[in-house]
């Protein structure tokens, strides 16, 4: 007995043998047992089918001619079933049953043996099946490993996405007489969007929104680095000049120097602002980020900003600080380009017009804008996932107490 057959003895693979001829069944079973298999006999097709299912059998040896369910019909029924593994079917036929063999092949039989059956041909065929089963097991093992690896990676990504989301402000934050409402929707697990706001000095707030180019791990790592770096302290140092006057472009210049690399292509767009509440003035630097919207009472809505270079894309470009009036009871709405670029089923982008139409459609409550806009975009997409990360930040100035 070869080492191969010994291995089979260990595993005791089940084989269903179906034949209406008792002697023929016993003969086949005896050979199989000798080869180390575990035969289960059936004298008709229905019993064989039940045994196959109950015992999860991978190999069937069946006679072609049987009363009731014949070999071909039995094969059809087996092939019609959903199993997690392949069932190998060997059929025993008469020497001159060529047309029947053709039909049997079409029904899904894998190989044939001619009557009278001899030990040599059965042994050869069963070994061939065994090789196939072993190969399937290797493939299945490989697939299990891939599935496990994929689950591990996805779980890591979820953990990273959680860590990143924890860096974002809560959906509602109140700082002094300003309320910030926000929502983030990542296109896949990880977003390249980051935003934040904080008090810089009494009456002065710093706020920013960032969108790192690209998506996924790569974009997320940079956005987390920026999230850690952009603190109230850095704003105080870099976004206020020596006299304490707001100059957010100075902060953006600093970031451009800090992140630009001659050999890299990572960059981000940013809306960087300082709000002087006493003077009702927003000082802002728009660095490639989409224009914001200033929403007044009664539905007046104006775009904020005329564009500007992105950050860390080019070394020697200048950034400017612009100023606009931002009275109390007005809202500033910042939306990342995931919203503007979101296309409907016909390929039309939601665009600035979509955002503006949304903002002015009804008298929106600031607190409801982020969630309502996210829903409007999902509806625009017709249920399809967004292709880019989306963040919505609403800065609401409250009336003086």
């Amino acid at each position: 007995m070869s080492a191969f057959d010994h291995a089979l003895l260990q595993s005791g693979i089940k084989v269903v043998v179906v034949d209406d001829d008792r002697l023929q069944r016993a003969y086949i079973s005896a050979i199989l047992r000798k080869l180390g298999y575990e035969p289960h006999e059936a004298d008709n097709g229905d019993t064989a089918l039940r045994l196959m299912t109950d015992l999860n059998v991978q190999i069937l040896i069946c006679d072609l001619d049987m009363p009731g369910l014949d070999g071909i019909e039995l094969t059809r029924r087996i092939r019609a079933k959903q199993t997690g593994f392949y069932i190998h079917i060997l059929m025993v036929t008469g020497r001159n049953q060529r047309p029947e063999r053709e039909r049997a092949l079409e029904a899904g039989v894998d190989d044939f043996m001619a009557k009278p059956l001899d030990t040599v041909s059965l042994t050869a065929r069963i070994r061939s099946v065994r090789r196939l089963i072993e190969h399937e097991e290797i493939l299945a093992e490989r697939e299990r490993n891939l599935v496990a690896a994929k689950e591990r990676i996805e779980s890591d990504l979820r953990a990273a996405a959680d860590a990143q989301r924890r860096m974002l402000p809560d959906p509602l934050v109140q700082i002094g007489r300003c309320r910030f409402h926000s929502a983030l929707l990542a296109s896949n697990f990880l977003a390249g969007d980051m935003f934040g706001y904080f008090e810089l000095a009494p009456g002065f707030l710093g706020l920013y929104a960032i969108d790192v180019a690209g998506h996924g791990v790569h974009a997320s790592l940079m956005s987390v680095a920026l999230g850690h770096m952009l603190t109230a302290e850095l704003f105080r140092q870099r976004a206020l000049d020596a006299q304490g006057r707001p100059d957010p472009a100075a902060l953006v210049r600093f970031l451009n120097r800090h992140f630009w690399r001659s050999d890299g292509e990572e960059y981000f767009t940013m809306f960087c602002a300082v709000l002087d509440q006493g003077a009702d003035t927003l000082h802002f630097c728009q660095a490639g980020y989409p224009s914001g919207f200033m929403l007044g009472p009664g539905g007046a809505c104006h775009p904020v900003g005329r564009g500007g270079y992105p950050v860390a894309l080019m070394p020697d470009v200048d950034f400017e600080t612009d100023r606009i009036e931002f009275p109390s009871d007005h809202l500033l709405v910042l939306v990342s380009d995931g919203a503007l670029e979101a296309e409907d089923a016909a390929g039309r982008p939601f665009d600035d017009h979509g955002v503006q139409a949304f903002l002015t459609a009804t008298d929106r409550k600031a607190s409801e804008i982020p969630v309502q806009m996210r829903n409007a975009l999902l509806q625009w997409r017709g249920g399809a996932q967004l292709e880019d990360d989306l963040s919505i930040v609403v800065c609401e100035r409250m009336r003086a107490a």
């Binding site: 180019a213 998506h215 292509e265 989409p290 224009s291 500007g308 992105p310 894309l313 670029e341 880019d388």
Partner: protein, 115 residues
Amino acid sequence: MIKVKQGGDGQICVVDPATDRLTAANATTFKDEMWQLIDKGEYRLVVDLTGVSFVDSSAIGALVGVLKRLGNRGEIVVCGLSGSVEKMFRITRMDKVFPTYRDSAAAAAALSERL
């Protein structure tokens, strides 16, 4: 992916990205193929965006990557900007970085004047 529509003889080379959308999905391929053109000695490049209806931030990154590779050896210009592509160029000021022309004929004419 890119198609050289005109030139390719070291003079003026008009390139069609041959895609409707230049995005994260194909921007790297676009950049690599443009780099190959530069490495073959094509230093006067026109990127014809007539057939492109959408570019994202990765596409902008790729175009700037081409500009970096080219350095001061030559010039790269764009033409055929429309709709959201034109808006993207305006908002990110790329219209100040890349000279823009109405169509490839105007772009090629402008480049040959500077030859």
